[in-house]
């Protein structure tokens, strides 16, 4: 384009029609530099150097140098002085302008008095009457030929100079325009590249001329939603700058740590600092991640504040919640490039747990965003003065409920396994089934709800696990339901135990059991009651089968204490005590001094104490029934 059409901008410099004659030149040189004898190459070179060094702004350079030497107070003084000078000059110029204005106005009042009067100063109006000054054109005296020639030459020179300056300016702006075009097209190429990657590029709402890229989340809380928009600015060379305004440039992320017995035993993976390739895309991604993480932490703190009753505490930059007696989880917002203090990490035992938690809270926030979209697109309620409160997102509550529930279920399962093993070692036939998280049914999700949301929804509902099993006597059974409600009160975990003991139809557990220990105690008690009744039934069965005189028939007047009594032929009483715990089952028999005497005196030498213990890891000992049969025959 530029080749096809070129316009000469610089004025053509004609050869001078009349070159200066040599004598004139010589006369000039003589006048300026003195005699030719003094001119030699060295002096000329020195002069040229000097001129070059001084440059066009030599005066300013000197001033700068001086300024460097001065200290601050002097600089300040000088600054004030200069400013005063500038003000003086300005005022003087102002005054002179006003004088000129007055003069011209007064002159003009002769012809157009109304108009000119307005620009006259009040003082002049008072002093000089309007139209008291006139002007006339005076014919200047004719100039001499030489003067006219001079004026012509000078004006020609001026014009040449102006043409040159204009040409320079035009050429300079042409080059400037060229670089501008190059950088502008680079900028737009990059903007297009961003757009083609799928980012939403739009005009900034407050700054209509600037372009912005939207990377935030539409459904986030308004402050974070508005932060998801950054301007795409152009650097001088045309490269793209992501301008997030006042938001910090650092990558921040929520870190999850697990503390076990006051020692850090797990930490979630913190994404590394910004990757080596510093593309605009990676910067947008980093900005998006940061805004998501900050929103996450904001919501965590907001939720933690309403959960004070459940042991959740917040510090300025920390949320802490307990998951069991010895474990707690800490959440904080950290810079990604900050060195994770590995020295403080005692072990990496719970890293998996921490990672799982950190993924969970992020998934839950994404779910909350989806719920927001759902809520937003429903027809709104009528406008009223009541402000709609945005409920806290469920981030911590489901996690806490899940961890709490699974810890309860696990400990109860351990307990049940132990007890049942003890019972089995003692030769009692019984078993139990555990159905942890029986409330979670992924197939029950409503088909209109997207799969992902249905999946998360299952974990926001109350958790329920059930344990059921039979006991030593055939018809007796029990069932335990463990419930944990993440969202609505009553918070915490409740045990709902129901038992079916045909021998003791009146015995029912308390309706609400809150702690694991109480539940275990209740279950142990029921198992013990059941063993007592099993012994009693065994005794009656035995005596019916073989009604022999020397067999004792055990009766249980105090089943809740685990005591059985029997009376032998010679009116000697016998007592049998059953005690059951998680680790062992112990059965002891004592002779009693008589039917009246409740206590067997310790001084009485008694060779007849029998005792048998079944322990958890014991094998190959006689069964409980055999032992009972044996002790029943003793007398």
């Amino acid at each position: 384009m530029s080749d096809s059409f070129s316009l000469p901008l610089r004025p053509l410099i004609e050869k001078r029609d009349r070159p200066d004659t040599l004598p004139v030149d010589i006369a000039q040189i003589n006048a300026r530099w003195g005699s030719f004898r003094d001119v030699n190459e060295d002096t000329l070179r020195a002069k040229i150097e000097e001129e070059k060094n001084r440059g066009p702004y030599s005066d300013d350079d000197e001033g700068d140098k001086a300024a460097e030497d001065m200290d601050t107070t002097e600089q300040l003084e000088q600054l004030y002085k200069r400013r005063a000078e500038i003000l003086n000059f300005a005022m003087q110029a102002h005054m002179e302008t006003l004088f000129a204005l007055d003069f011209v106005s007064l002159l003009l009042t002769k012809h157009t008095d109304r108009q000119a009067e307005t620009s006259m100063s009040a003082f002049l109006k008072q002093v000089a009457p309007l139209g008291s000054l006139n002007s006339e054109i005076v014919n200047p005296p004719p100039k001499s030929e030489a003067v006219a020639q001079d004026v012509k030459t000078v004006s020609r020179g001026w014009r040449m100079q102006n043409f040159n300056a204009a040409a320079n300016k035009l050429l300079k702006s042409a080059t400037r325009l060229e670089t501008e075009v190059a950088s502008e097209s680079k900028y737009w190429d990059e903007v297009l590249a961003v757009k083609e990657k799928g980012w939403k590029v739009c005009r900034l709402p407050r700054e209509r001329q600037a372009l912005g890229v939207q990377y935030g989340f539409m459904e986030a809380t308004p402050i974070f939603r508005d932060r998801g928009l950054a301007a795409l600015r152009r650097a001088d060379d045309g490269s793209l700058i992501l301008d997030k305004g006042l938001a910090p440039q650092k990558t921040r992320t929520v870190r999850v740590r697990v503390k076990h017995h006051d020692k850090f035993t797990g930490c979630s993976k913190v994404p590394g600092s910004s990757p080596a390739v510093d593309s605009i895309e990676s910067r947008i991604l980093q900005a998006r991640d940061t805004v998501y993480e900050e929103e996450l932490f904001h919501e965590l703190v907001r939720e933690a504040r309403i959960m004070g009753s459940q042991g959740v505490t917040t510090r300025q930059n920390l949320v802490r919640f307990p998951i069991s007696e010895e474990q707690e989880v800490l959440l904080d917002l950290v810079d990604a490039d900050q060195d994770t203090d590995d020295s403080k990490m005692e072990s990496t035992e719970h890293d998996v747990l921490a990672d799982a938690l950190s993924h969970s809270i992020r998934i839950l926030l994404a779910y909350a965003h989806r719920q927001n979209l759902r809520r937003r697109t429903q027809p709104p309620p009528p406008l009223s003065q009541k402000r709609r409160h945005t409920p806290e997102y469920q981030l911590l509550r489901p996690i806490m409920a899940y961890l709490q529930h699974s810890s309860h279920v696990r400990s109860l399962e351990t307990f049940m396994t132990d007890i049942y093993q003890v019972l089995q070692v003692a030769g009692l036939k019984c078993e139990f089934q555990a159905a942890p998280f029986s409330s979670v049914h992924l197939s029950r999700v409503h088909p209109s709800i997207p799969k992902v949301e249905g999946l998360v929804q299952q974990f926001l509902m109350p958790f329920e696990s059930t344990f059921s099993g039979n006991l030593a006597t055939p018809q007796s059974s029990f069932k335990v339901r463990i419930r944990t409600n993440p969202a609505a009160p009553p918070f915490g975990t409740l045990y709902d135990i129901s038992v079916n003991l045909p021998q003791y139809p009146d015995v029912q557990p308390p309706s609400r059991i809150g702690s694991q220990r109480e539940a275990a105690a209740a279950l142990t008690h029921f198992a013990m009651l059941d063993i007592v009744s099993a012994i009693a039934t065994h005794g009656t069965k035995l005596s019916k089968e073989r009604p022999r005189k020397d067999t004792l028939a055990w009766e249980s007047p105090f089943p809740h204490h685990g005591e059985l009594l029997a009376l032998s032929d010679d009116d000697r009483g016998h007592k049998l005590i059953v005690s059951l715990s998680q680790n062992e089952l112990m059965v002891e028999t004592f002779p009693r001094s008589g039917p009246e005497g409740l206590r067997w005196s310790p001084g009485d030498p008694s060779p007849a104490v029998h005792s048998q213990t079944w322990k958890l890891d014991q094998t190959g000992s006689a069964s409980l029934i055999d032992f009972i049969t044996e002790v029943s025959r003793e007398w």
């Binding site: 539409m218 979209l373 937003r376 697109t377 429903q378 027809p379 709104p380 009528p382 406008l383 009223s384 003065q385």
Partner: protein
């Protein structure tokens, strides 16, 4: 409750483009909505308007006054609105009883086209007053109330309440929600005139393509509405109309939202 409205006419060729623009503005996908609308007219039941007239000294109790006002006040047309799915048009009526189940289980493709069951149709009563006269602000404001009605045949309860069936039509359109504003881009479809049924709502729906738009050119109506809980609260009404004006400003380059002619929205029965 009060309702504040602005309307705009959208020519058919602009419909698609405007859908895109609204989807962008409200950051949501349009919700398609097809509604049956039955028009009922209130009539005075003979023998119910026998309250005393005149005798101004005879002070009436507040309750009685209100009752009188309700009974002798203006009579209005009301609409009964029932949402339907587009697939339900032209579907064969569901036969009742166990035979249907046998039939359904045998035919797989029958499941994909749900039958229209008039007995299960849910209804909503929508009452709209004539727009307020002489309001200074440039929006249409009117008193409104909605109530859920029992499912199934609605004419019997409506007749019992003193309403008689007049006519029915179908409204088809898309709904957007922008904060408090519900934007409904819709048009009215008429049933084919040939098979005029007996006097009452249709028990079966004709095929969807047999419906013809009321406006021959196929143009749509854009309706922006805000409901306000307390119409007496001037501040809330002002806020609501400010919101509507904000929307009008945002859509200025696309459509011209304006106040509707008051008398064309007159619902009084004469």
């Amino acid at each position: 409750m009060h309702e504040l409205l602005l309307f705009a006419s959208v020519p058919a060729h602009q419909h698609h483009e405007l859908l895109q623009q609204l989807a962008g503005l409200t950051a949501m996908q349009p919700r398609h909505r097809v509604e049956r609308r039955l028009v009922f007219k209130a009539h005075r039941q003979p023998g119910l308007t026998n309250t005393r007239v005149g005798a101004s000294q005879d002070l009436q109790g507040a309750e009685l006054q209100r009752l009188n006002k309700m009974l002798n006040g203006g009579m209005f047309y009301t609409q009964v609105v029932g949402p339907v799915a587009q697939a339900e048009f032209g579907a064969k009526p569901a036969s009742s009883g166990g035979a249907a189940d046998v039939y359904m289980s045998g035919m797989e493709d029958k499941l994909s086209t749900p039958a229209y069951c008039y007995e299960d149709q849910s209804w909503k009563l929508e009452f709209r007053d004539i727009p307020e006269a002489g309001t200074r602000s440039a929006v249409t404001a009117r008193l409104m109330a909605s109530a859920a009605l029992p499912k199934g045949d609605i004419t019997i309860p409506m007749n019992a309440w003193g309403y008689s069936f007049v006519t029915e039509y179908v409204v088809e359109g898309d709904v957007f929600v922008l904060n408090d504003i519900v934007i409904f881009l819709h048009r009215v479809l008429l049933y084919p005139s040939g098979a005029q049924e007996s006097h009452g709502p249709r028990r079966q729906l004709p095929a969807y393509r047999e419906l013809s738009p009321l406006e021959r050119t196929g143009s749509y109506v854009l309706q922006a509405a805000i409901t306000v809980q307390d119409g007496g609260n001037q501040e809330m009404m002002k806020t609501a109309s400010q919101h509507l004006f904000g929307l009008r400003e945002q859509l200025k380059s696309a459509v011209r939202l304006e106040q509707a002619d008051r008398l064309s929205l007159d619902t009084r029965a004469k």
